[in-house]
Amino acid sequence: MTSGNSGADLSGPRGPWRLIAWIVTAIMAATVCYSVLRIPLQVTDSLVPMLDAQKTPSVIGAFASGARASGYFRPLRAAQIQALFELSNGHYFAAYKGFQAAMVAVVFALFLLVLEVNSLHRLAALLFALTVLTGLHSFRGSVWEAYPVNHSLEIVAFCLLALLLARSNGGRWSDAAAALTFLAAVSTVESGLLVWVVIVAAWLTGARGVSRRGVLVVTALLAGYVALRFAYLHTGVPALSERSSGFGLRQLDPAELQRRFGAWPYGFYAYNVVSSLLTVLFSEPRAGIWTIPAEFVRGRVAAGTVINVVSSAVTTVIIGWFVAARRDAWRPAFARALRRGRPAFARALRRGRPAFAQALRRGRSEFDRDDQIVLVSCAVIIANAVISYSYTKDEIMGPAGVFYALAACVGIVFVLRTVGEQIDRGADPLGPRVPLATLALVLAIVSAGWVVRTAGLHYQMNLMTFYDRNEWVYVDDWLVQQKSAPSTDAGKALVRQLREDAVEHAAVNPYLLSPRLDQWFR
């Protein structure tokens, strides 16, 4: 790992900050786990896969079936559902929800490990970043549902693990682990392709934990995945008419999507990519729907919507400030040499390949760990938006949201360092016209905004608990509508048991809380 000068290494005693960082991260993770464990396994997306698991003879059978599903290639997801079903010994809620809570803990731990908290500044930035992580709406979508195995969280964990491997000391085991991580991710769900993006982006920014050979192996696996999926299994891609999607100020159902965009869907795809990008950076639009104008048309823009947009916009500006300040340092050494009219690049070319490679290495050496985090985050956010082209949904931007929180942490460290340095020099950090108190006030408002959004995560998960419990009351009608009613005694017993589990489950009724909360937590 190289060390640059973006301000990552604010020194100080490492031990206490690291310990405190683990404690606050554990508390934040525990609250999310608590809310997750209160939500019953939902009827939609969970029950039918569990009934399928009951009928499937083995994990291998589930794996094979998951590889052949029309439009999707998710064998590992099917295998996980099957394995947990068989291991649960009838304790389905404990098995699936326990696994989900474990994934939450893993994600938080990896998030902290990536950020390497070793100073007071980084601890402060971590606190901020944890509220960005949990407060961003894409995280809510990623964390609450069970399906009954939460593949969205798994992909987040795989991406963070890939970044950690890329920034490790490296070696054969690291390369092998990177390849396995990629295979596991793409076999779980399509967004697992982001693991490749993380590994390649990290390598391009000088992280050598995964060697060039490792990157080539992962790239070859990517090519193999594409060939397997499209040329051999012919699983194709999801059709336009498969699900609803937000567009403009409202949700369009599959029939309307087909009618409006069926002939030429590329404009719709471009809208989805841009919407997905903007939703992470500015919290608008949400699932493809522009909420501020939509709420304005309905007569009132909710306070929660304003908080979401303002907190995201200012955080994005902070990340942008970091990018602007580091832009020059990121230009490869040889490019800078050319720009300045120095003959270094030409000399390197004349001397042949080793010198050229050395020049490239010099270029990469300008990226320190925080640069790598931000650049990999940018790559993940863009790539996540691109692969979400077919429809927009908050949860599919889950990995992008987590990497956005990582970038926010780096941005805050940069602000703290820059301001500290300027004050030490006796200068006004924002110039003579803007008092420091203004910056402090803005940061406090934004930080408080993210705290409100984090509280909103728990409020919304509480609402989900209420709705999911109510759905279980009418599960038999739903199964008939879906043409999935179990015909066997075992299937009927499974539905009955899950229904009883859900209805008897302890829950905080949202009506016992203030009705005004709905306006604040969007």
């Binding site: 525990a30 500290g420 209420f466």
Partner: protein, 156 residues
């Protein structure tokens, strides 16, 4: 190393204090939840009347499954629909629900809608502008049911 002047500390505090406050709140929340406090928020403390008033189909099903009487008046705690605590039947409480309540479930399990209570329910739903309930009641209107709301017991 960057020294921490008092002015720089403002910035650091501005960034960290709100989130640190949330961590403290989270810790308190986890501890109190582990101790079962506050119990009043637990939906298992709802009466059938309250479950009906807040449209909790799950709690209504649970309470009916445990043998609750769908015609018995019970507590409707303060703050759910009205500011003060009162007592009423589940169907009467359902007229005050914001969204579609478990009315059909109550009727299926023996809740009565007849001439003795129809007018009270109708006028209660009218007072709360509960269109779902009004539609439901319209389909079960007894022949000679009075609907002059000035002459019946007001629920809300």
């Amino acid at each position: 190393m960057v020294s921490m002047t008092s002015r720089a500390n403002w910035i650091l505090a501005a960034v960290a204090l709100p989130a640190a406050g949330w961590v403290v709140v989270s810790l308190v929340w986890l501890v109190t939840a582990a101790l079962g406090i506050p119990r009043a928020f637990d939906s298992r403390t709802l009466t059938l009347t309250e479950a009906s008033a807040v449209a909790s189909h799950a709690d209504t099903a649970r309470l009916l499954g445990n043998g609750a009487d769908p015609n018995a008046a019970s507590r409707l705690r303060a703050g759910l629909v009205m500011n003060g605590e009162t007592t009423m039947t589940p169907l009467e409480a359902a007229t005050g629900a914001i969204r579609s309540g478990p009315v059909q479930m109550l009727v299926d399990r023996g809740a009565r809608i007849d001439e003795s209570n129809y007018a009270v329910l109708w006028c209660g739903a009218m007072a709360r502008r509960n269109t779902d309930m009004l539609r439901f009641l319209e389909s079960r209107r007894p022949e000679r049911a009075p609907i002059d709301c000035t002459k019946v017991r007001a629920l809300w």
